[in-house]
């Protein structure tokens, strides 16, 4: 996968480049917003890893303007503060994921993998079906008039399926998108997660297509 890394810290660029290269990615590392824009034109990446504080601009601003220009590349934003507020801000500006510095490099590698497999962002902002209303922006699920608690992972599953617009997603794809891995543990967790989501949203909200996978809506 082609990865574009934008960070003004030379040590971090060196370390992350080595790690991602080890994973088989082709990494381009730059230090400024200007260089990032140039690299985006020259060789469009499949994942963009973007630092928040850059010498010639804000990573969040770059993210926002890229989205406004119609750029759909998955973006992982890095920040020096772990504050939750920044996470929300980052996601609102169009980033797909958010990682606080200093991070474990293994964590970065896993998230890059997930973003790469998920592909360009395509989640609608809401979804309605029967008695279920899902607001993905506010992360609020209302079932038969009462709010239901969905965990972060359950939201990730439902959002991914919603992005498929009711089309079937294979187990492998779901595992990659939500767990970033296709391991026996993840597979077992998926079964449990499907059961829990069905219990909360109602069996009609999530259908199993035997031999193929799962889809949102149209279940019994």
């Amino acid at each position: 996968m082609r990865v574009l890394l934008v960070d003004d810290n030379a040590e971090l660029r060196e370390l992350v480049t080595r790690a991602l290269t080890r994973d088989g990615h082709a990494v381009t590392a730059v230090a400024t917003v200007a260089a990032a824009r140039a690299a985006l034109l020259e060789s469009p990446p499949e994942v963009l890893v973007l630092d928040l504080g850059l010498p010639d601009g804000s990573g969040m601003e770059l993210c926002r303007s890229l989205r406004a220009e119609g750029e759909r590349v998955p973006i992982l934003m890095l920040t020096a503060q772990g504050a939750v507020a920044r996470r929300v801000e980052g996601l609102e500006s169009g980033a797909d994921d958010f990682l606080a510095k200093p991070f474990a490099v293994a964590e970065l590698r896993a998230r890059v993998r997930v973003l790469g497999r998920r592909g360009p962002a395509a989640t609608p902002s809401s979804w309605r079906h029967g008695a279920v209303a899902l607001d993905f922006a506010a992360r609020r699920a209302v079932v038969r008039g009462a709010e239901a608690p969905l965990t972060a992972r359950e939201w990730a599953l439902v959002e991914f399926l919603a992005g498929r617009g009711g089309r079937v997603a294979r187990r492998g794809e779901i595992l990659d998108a939500v767990w970033g891995a296709d391991s026996p543990q993840a597979s077992a967790s998926l079964d449990v997660l499907i059961t829990r989501v069905r219990r909360k949203l109602g069996a009609a909200a999530l259908r199993t297509v035997r031999g193929e996978g799962y889809a949102l809506g149209g279940g019994e």
């Binding site: 370390l15 474990a104 490099v105 293994a106």
Partner: protein, 426 residues
């Protein structure tokens, strides 16, 4: 305070009346003595009965005007004066019904004198009445005074005490708004307390910032070291087993150290930052993840029953860390035997109970065991590894989510109970 006033009023009224009455009698006795002395002077011992009688009768006529009676006896023989005044048994003065009587034995004979006490009695009644009235007034004044003292001092002090008790230990500077009740006495105290709390707040903030900055500074080099060691471990070069073993051990220590630094950061963080994430967290999901991360040998010792429907509002990462610490603590301090984890709903709360078959926690230690870096004598003696930070973290995270952590009585071993408010629609 009013009761005291009334009581002392009544007491002084009683005492005053007694003293006044006594002095009135003394005065009366003085009058009687005076009359007796006058007669005694006129009737020397040698005077005959007839002359004595004349003097006594004259004296009686005179004292009758003053409401007194006087009589002279020689032996049992009445000599002169008021015959109806019978001789007394003993010398001296006494009250006899409505009269005050005195008997003086002299060489010339025994002189009996008496006076009516009606007037004195009336005076006594008046005095008693006045004293009682004074007592009631004193009581009312006391009530009024106690009301004033209450308003000025007692109630403002009580209010102040309540406010101090309600001070949040994590943010003391926010308590005690200025202004008070307008009473100078408590306002000064309030201001002094407020200043002290503000200083405490600043000191707390400073030490928190230091701890957070220190931990943050440590994270970066630790993260880099870990990354380098991990990349080296994945390397293709063939290295002597000794070197690889060394690398593995270094990596393990590093991971442990990084985990400790993360815990310290959480401990040092102010509550608001811990409450930042407000997502729905499934306790069953968190427990599943924690259990899945255990070594197989440890996993086999744990029996978990977690209600699938239990959700808590907060931070999934922190709650997982909380459960992980509780579990690893139980596994560590009870090196053998079963560890049970059960989580269920109790009204608006989610209750998680973790029990082990170890030595348990002595009742005296139960509170201290949640202090950061506290390690019981038993733990140190047994050489149990660790820094004593795990339980402090558990308590901190539980509190930041509006809950609590405490050790409860158990027939054997230890029983740790976590209480957290359940998820509710916002």
């Amino acid at each position: 305070m009013a009761a005291t006033a009334v009581l002392s009023g009544l007491l002084s009224a009683a005492l005053g009346t007694v003293i006044a009455w006594t002095s009135m009698l003394d005065r009366e006795d003085g009058r009687l003595r005076g009359a007796a002395q006058t007669l005694a002077v006129e009737v020397p011992a040698g005077m005959g009965d007839a002359a004595a009688r004349a003097h006594a009768d004259d004296e009686q006529t005179e004292v009758a005007v003053a409401g007194m009676r006087i009589a002279l006896y020689r032996g049992a023989r009445f000599v002169g004066g008021d015959a109806s005044l019978r001789p007394s048994a003993a010398e001296g003065c006494r009250t006899d019904g409505p009269s005050r009587r005195c008997r003086f034995v002299l060489p010339t004979g025994a002189i009996e004198v008496a006076s009516e006490l009606a007037g004195a009695r009336a005076q006594r009644s008046l005095l008693l009445g006045a004293s009682l009235a004074a007592a009631v007034l004193a009581g009312l004044a006391g009530l009024g005074l106690s009301g004033a003292v209450s308003a000025r001092i007692v109630r403002p002090l009580q209010r102040l005490r309540e406010e101090v008790a309600a001070v949040d230990a994590d943010a003391p500077g926010r308590a005690l708004p200025a202004g008070g009740d307008g009473y100078a006495e408590t306002d000064a105290l309030r201001a002094a307390l407020g200043e002290m709390l503000a200083r405490l707040d600043r000191a707390l903030a400073q030490s928190r910032r230091f701890a957070a900055d220190a931990a943050h500074e440590l994270r970066t080099p630790l993260g880099t070291m870990q990354a380098e060691l991990e990349l080296a471990a994945e390397g293709d070069e063939v290295l002597p087993e000794e070197v690889k073993g060394s690398q593995r051990r270094a990596l393990r220590t590093l991971v442990g150290l990084t985990a400790l630094v993360e815990r310290l950061l959480i401990l040092a963080a102010p509550d608001e930052s811990l409450r930042g994430s407000r997502e729905a967290v499934s306790l069953a999901e968190a427990a599943d993840e924690v259990l899945a991360a255990l070594e197989p040998a440890a996993r086999a010792r744990v029996r978990a029953t977690v209600d699938d429907r239990l959700h808590v509002r907060g931070d999934a990462v922190l709650l997982r860390a909380m459960l992980e610490n509780v579990l690893s603590n139980a596994l560590k301090f009870a090196p053998a035997g079963e560890v049970t984890v059960s989580a269920g709903a109790d009204g608006d709360d989610a209750v998680v109970a973790v029990t082990d078959a170890g030595p348990g926690v002595p009742a005296g230690d139960r509170a201290r065991v949640f202090d950061a870096f506290y390690r019981s004598a038993g733990a140190r003696a047994d050489g149990v590894r660790g820094h004593g930070v795990g339980l402090a973290l558990v308590a901190r995270i539980a509190r930041a989510h509006g809950g609590s952590a405490a050790f409860e009585d158990a027939p054997t071993g230890a029983r740790l109970v976590l209480r957290l408010p359940r998820w509710r629609p916002a």
